[in-house]
Point group: D3
Chain length 174, copies 6
């Protein structure tokens, strides 16, 4: 059975990977890379105003996301960094995205993600697609990274070089 | 930023939705429908020899899957029913699939699915993509359907008509 | 075997459904309705001082609970709205309640609820009874409702009309 | 606000506590005792044909349940031991029960119980009420009891005396 | 097979039990007692600056830990109370500890603990050893204790006498 | 504070790592290695009669455990391979072990392990100590290994060489 490609070709399958990215880590990059293999366009979308006391400002976080893309995935022209405020589903609708991408690292992510996914589907009938980052990133999240950086631990294995450099600047200033 | 479509268009993104489908339910169909919206081709792949004492034979299960597709998604030419024996990753590689699709209904599915997904990625670097069926199918699985059918409950809301009919035949014979 | 009704009739089985209700949702109302079918008297009990920065004041929340009862369950004379400060078990003892009612929506509620239920039983030997709201309220909680209302989403399917109206007022003022 | 007792008094609130009881343990008895405090009538209902290779026959299990009731709760005239085959909801409907009682000991019980509760509510709109047994029975289930009895461990703290005696007979014969 | 004791005898197996201990409870003491049975030296290590608005100051918390040791385990010369700031793994390395001890009470502790344990192992290759406190402490944590003390509940069964006394002082002053 | 070593030195801290080991994997070996770093003597204890249709006989499994020890930990004189039938706690008591070692890979292991640990502590007051294997073994268990070997997958990264060889023999014969 040959798939009816005619009606499918023109459709660009765009997905959104939302987050606070404070800062972006190798775990995020792993998810982005997988999404980029599966879909035509991936928007890395910074949720604005979502974090009360972020380490990095919104502009800094967007810049770090963009730099990280150049550093790690220089030839991935179909990945774009953007930001949004308001509800994710409203942004997804405006962007004409077919799905929201979320990384599921651990079970404790699961139910919060499920609730959000169900609510988003209810609000705008948008599907959430879950992918797992590599198991070596199971223990990795931005909170731990900030804590490690604060005490001068070597985090070069956990974040892209641009983030590592920026974190060092941030904490040497303090 | 415009995605570099040139190299992407010729690639048919094929995914595999494996299962025992004993029998196929509306929960399965919900997952298949979502996968069909996201990818170019979906193979509903019956895992052979995976169930010790199935209610339906492999041939019956494949037929029910095919009939259900015709009944529920008659115009989805890019969904195909197939079967495989051996390891799922070997089948996925042979089929040149870019991902395995799994439905995540409840948390208790989660860790088994994660283990399998991690192992499959280790063995053949294939990504597993999780989608959630509609919350009204949370309580639905083939075991419960078989139990309900056995005692003559009305299951018309939980399975496609062809499965409902076949289950009635099966249990009236007994 | 006929139950010995004589000693049971005079006993009014009163239960308490505690919460912060900021604001009351259709999920809460679903649990209240089920409790009302099972017991002689249900007290919807607002826990005062339990939320740091509530959207609605205590008086507003109590009023919304009362209005919601009138709107949704107008003939349920055995449901009462009340408030308490201090420990729930002390309030339950004072009210002579035989049980505390809690809704269990998702697994992540489970252990916190279990700890509280165990502690309450230890402190005053009061039983906690868990009921499940309809699965369509799985993704519903007051935090999500407040977020949706803030961005002007249509939440009429998730809250009683009186709450919907009050939320619109609240956020249009801002 | 005084509850409208007039229409409530004649209603006998009957609940069903289903199980395989192979054999009945102190954990089960703890749940039965709690249910008996909350409702007018409790039916301890043995699910027949539900266990493939039970240790005790159905008749033995019913007798042990009855003996245990006499031993532990001699004055609880409103607890009845019964058995049923087929679907629990059909039995509950026939008995005019207002709820099904289930003990929730551990999180791993949770999702199976939730699925069954949701399905039962869907089939016959019957509410499932969850209560927690005492935390000292967390580690207790019939499988562990059978294993301990088999190797001659002292299980007098975990089961009623009649079950302890019967288990000793069973395993000394073997 | 006789273990090669010669190289093992000189090694003092030291472990660290880190926490905020605001205040120390009988659940903590239960874990410390178990660790003291298994290893040569146990350091009860207060993590400084880890709690935003603690009930007790760091000095008070250390003193309560020391008093509790004297009260409950007066002859356990191999248990020491200490404090540390910065990363736990750096402290553990400095102290030459062979493992970190953590109590696992409930499943919701599990994944956070796992993430920290994996990260600590990655950073300094230190093993985390989990032990379970007695099941009667399942519902016990410092947050609940502070809440109960605030409303004047009897908490003598949950904390050592020195903590009980101090909590009464604290809340009678207020 | 110097620990009172005098009374501690003569005590050999022996622990038991029970399992079915059908067959032993690199995940098991990782746990055994960690236990060997923490305690004076580790008994790898094969639970006899615990598996209905094992791939390898008890003798084969014991031999593979012994060979694996020689292959992977040749100088670990304080690790011993043994077998037991009956209850684990009776064996542990007989061996004078101070603890039972269990690997916790995933959350779904957690509650079963907890129930067993609580029951064992109740029966013979023996402590269970949980350690995590390396995260790269999260997806690894004997069932998956047997399945992979059956279909001729390369499993050399998951099991010691002696097990790899034996599995190839086993499945080429069939």
């Amino acid at each position: 059975m040959e798939p009816a490609r005619i009606q499918l070709v023109p459709k660009i399958r765009k997905v959104i990977y939302p987050g606070t990215f404070d800062p972006i880590t190798n775990g995020h990059l792993d998810v982005i890379g997988r999404a980029a293999d599966l879909f035509d366009e991936v928007i890395v979308a910074l949720a604005m105003n979502s974090t009360k006391a972020p380490l990095f400002s919104e502009l800094e976080r967007i810049d770090l996301c963009k730099e990280a893309m150049k550093e790690v995935m220089p030839h991935s022209g179909h990945i774009r960094v953007d930001s949004f405020s308001g509800l994710l589903v409203d942004y997804a609708k405006k962007e004409n995205a077919i799905a929201i991408i979320r990384g599921l690292r651990v079970l404790s992510d699961f139910e919060y993600e499920f609730q959000m996914a169900l609510m988003n589907r209810k609000l705008e009938d948008i599907t959430t697609v879950f992918v797992m980052p590599n198991e070596k990133y199971t223990y990795l999240n931005s909170t731990i990274i900030r804590e490690l950086a604060k005490y001068g631990s070597d985090i070069s294995g956990f974040v892209p070089e641009c983030v590592n450099k920026k974190l060092k600047e941030k904490f040497s200033k303090k």
